[in-house]
Amino acid sequence: MLSLLVATAVALIRVRGLLASIMLTSVYGLLSASFFVIMDAVDVAFTEAAVGAGVSPLLLLLTVAIVGRKEAAPAQGRRAAMPILLVTVTGALLIIGTLDMPPFGAADAPVHQHVAPYYLEQSGGEIGIPNVVTSVLASYRAYDTLGEVLVIFTAGVAVILALAPPGQRGSFRLDDSSATPFVPNTIVQVVSKLLIPFMLLFACYVQFHGEYGPGGGFQAGVIFASGIILYGLLYGLPTVCRAIPPPVVEVLAAVGVLIYGLTGVLSLLGGSSFLDYGVFADDPVTAQHIGIVCIELGVGITVAAVIITIYYAFARQQERGRS
């Protein structure tokens, strides 16, 4: 499995032409996700499948559609030797470093000695949900997760800022909805129309099932967004913008963060520390449940909205390039 990963990476180096590289990136994403399944990291595999094999190749594709797929020849001769030398030396140093690491899979490695046993043993009683990953993510380390959600939100804002045309105020509107002639592709459109509702429904299932099985806000957001992106790819940007207006999405991205933050503030007002859910109900387990559901909802909304926003920004750029 891992050797396959290396082979893909090597092929990525050798392949010229960006479209081919992107196909390989997608395959690479699938491969690493399968690897995560074998390593028991189901939640991670979930995310990587949706992100590494789905959204990130799509964004790369949109970029390539804007900037063109030609790639210059790599440097030859002495200029090419320098990176190889640098890489080899760094790699060799790192390999020497690994010799001190605990063997793979050992149960007594230092990683497994500190907080992890506590999470595994106590979370069943304290939080009361089976998926330990979710309870660590949304309860024990909720503060970290808040930071990460903010990073995602900021990234969305940055993309909007970077791609906004000069002089634009407020959210973008499509000015030339009739300018782009759209080639219908009936069979694919009809089948996708059937599939997209299931996709969105499945995203909701992932969102609310995240406490019992693999899943949660991050995964659900990405799946939801990729359903919308599929709709946009097939029916064109104007149609999808009419169904889900960009200003609404932008507001939703903020609302998601707000839900997360408010959950923390409410717990402050209730007299305990930030993001400590103990105040939401008399029974601590129920309280934890309420807190986790709120937070996951905030995460899901933010992630979905930010990715849709990013897609809108890129797709609009691409449409402008076309007309």
Binding site: A7, M23, A50, L58, L62, M199, F202, V206, I229, R322
Partner: protein, 91 residues
């Protein structure tokens, strides 16, 4: 039998991967990637039964969805390029 199926799926994945590396044009590559993706769905499903943890089936569902999306995505981009070229010819 399950183990044999897993081995066969891995073999086919290997073939698809090799093909994706050496494919002569974009469409062959997409075909190989698509084949690879559907085989991954099967692999995850079979593996989840082999290890007795049916939770993993969720992941297989996601794969089935995502794979379709990425194939469609690539094809749309090639179509856009064709449109561009046609527009350039017309002007």
């Amino acid at each position: 039998m399950l183990a044999l199926t897993v081995v066969v799926i891995l073999l086919v994945m290997l073939v698809a991967l090799a093909r994706a590396f050496t494919a002569p044009n974009v469409f062959d590559r997409v075909l190989a990637a698509n084949l690879f993706g559907t085989k991954t769905v099967l692999l995850i499903a079979a593996l989840s039964y082999l290890s007795g943890s049916p939770d993993h089936l969720d992941i297989a569902v996601v794969y089935a969805l995502i794979n379709f999306i990425s194939v469609i995505g690539v094809l749309r981009v090639t179509e856009w390029r064709r449109e561009q070229r046609q527009n350039a010819v017309e002007e």
